[in-house]
Amino acid sequence: MPKTQVSMKVNGKPVEALVEPRRLLIHFLREDLSLTGAHIGCETTHCGTCTVDLDGKSVKSCTVFAVQAEGADIRTIEGMAAADGTLHALQEGFREMHGLQCGFCTPGMILRAYRLLQENKSPTEEEIRFGISGNLCRCTGYQNIVKAIQFAAAKLNGVPFQEAAE
């Protein structure tokens, strides 16, 4: 099959490449761009560990062809920290609140939480749980992931984080 020219922005940098139309976005990111932060989990649109931000939407990059991302603005976990290495509030939240154990789901969780907080600056616990319902974690039981997102929301809103009583 003839390859197709694609151009998009990934973590603020313009990217151009020739890709086979059947190349999935997750493979394009990981193998062609060496951005291995987004993980491959179930490959069947369930687990969410391949989640990236694409034109203001959280998408499962295992279920998007790279050619569909023509002209898109994409953000992956590699684009979350500042250039000087300062962590994004979400990354800090996951570290401070122990929001990860094995860490496999974390890039997808953080990218999904990033979009959630863009759309809802002060989500309730229930809204957070519903918002990350397309991301599976098999270690934490989600408690500390929710806290991590609450921590980040508080930090981004400039208010002190108060852990809810258990």
């Binding site: 099959m1 003839p2 197709t4 086979e20 139309p21 059947r22 999935l24 490959e43 069947t44 649109t45 369930h46 969410g48 989640t51 939407k57 959280s58 998408v59 499962k60 295992c62 279920t63 998007v64 062809f65 050619v67 569909q68 023509e70 999904r112 959630l116 519903f130 918002g131 990350i132 319902s133 397309g134």
Partner: protein
């Protein structure tokens, strides 16, 4: 939303599902006319691509092996939600997320936003489209039964021009619809329900992202404490979505008293023919369709003026 193929791994690949789609050529037309011409020229080996969240998983499993994909994403006319007289017209490429966020729909047809939120998960809703959901013919999809309930009409464009197909005549079997090869569903037209109507969508599912074990959509109006009009759609309890006309007729004129609701539920259960699968045996899924209907009726009644 993807599902693991019921048949297990294909021969020659022990224990492993292929997850890389077959090769295809990619086309990105700018207009419906261009898309329809492409589909006509390319023939049976071409498929339109909307959000792709049913088609791409099918392609990974090699249950679909199109040689050409005609991506509808670049066609601006297929986007958006607008009022047109008493109707609401939703472009086929409008996503479930956009349906859930629409103020126009929240005001005029709240059933749609409510239903969109029980479809798949947040990521899938950002990409999955209304057009794909209703045109695919998958009995597990939620929007088709809702369209039967609402009396929607589908706008379909082929090389010969546009035709309009009532949703209630669209579904012929699992993945079999009234769409002819080369035709593209471009919009869904929904008559605005009367002010003061009540509606509800009740979906039983095992987890977020699952298809319905059974689900029921209800739209009704009340007058003097009695049902003036009623329409019912059922999801995933037959090879097609079901419009439960007889059940709705039983309810007309009633006060939704328990005895009448029981008769209507029985009439709705009688038209189901679900498969036994991981969601439960057929008789259980039929009973759950009845339970969902009773709950949806109660909630729609509460919401009706």
């Amino acid at each position: 939303m993807s599902q693991v193929a019921p048949g297990g791994p294909p021969a020659g690949v022990p224990g492993r599902m292929p997850v890389i789609p077959g090769s295809f050529a990619y086309h990105r037309p700018k207009s419906v006319t261009e898309a329809v011409a492409l589909l006509a020229d390319l023939g049976e080996d071409a498929r339109p691509l909307a959000g792709g969240h049913s088609l791409i998983p099918m392609m990974k499993l090699r249950l679909a092996t199109p040689e050409h994909l005609v991506d509808l994403a670049g066609i601006r006319d297929l986007k958006g939600i607008r009022a047109d007289g008493g109707d609401v017209v939703i472009g086929a490429m409008t996503t479930q997320h956009e349906i859930g966020a629409s103020e126009l729909l929240a005001a005029k047809i709240p059933l749609l936003g409510e239903a969109s939120l029980v479809i798949a998960d947040p990521q899938v809703r950002y990409v999955g489209t209304l057009g794909g959901n209703v045109a695919n013919g998958d009995p597990g999809n939620d929007m088709p039964a809702i369209m039967l309930c609402l009396g929607a009409t589908y706008h379909v464009v082929g090389k010969a021009g546009e035709r309009r197909i009532p949703a209630r005549e669209f579904y012929r079997g699992a993945y079999v619809t009234a769409l002819k090869p080369g035709e593209v569903l471009t919009a869904v037209r929904i008559p605005g329900p009367p002010a003061g109507h009540g509606s509800a969508y009740e979906k039983l599912k095992r987890k977020i992202g699952d298809y319905a074990t059974a689900a029921a959509a209800v739209l009704l109006t009340m007058s003097g404490g009695r049902v003036a009009t009623c329409s019912i759609g059922l999801t995933n309890v037959a090879e097609t979505p079901l419009w439960a006309e007889a059940a709705a007729k039983i309810l007309n004129g009633s006060s939704l008293d328990p005895a009448t609701v029981k008769r209507a539920v029985a009439a709705a259960e009688a038209i189901t023919s679900p498969a036994s699968d991981a969601r439960g045996p057929a008789h259980y899924r039929t009973k759950m369709a009845g339970v969902m209907l009773a709950r949806a009726l109660a909630r729609a009644r509460q919401r009706a003026a």
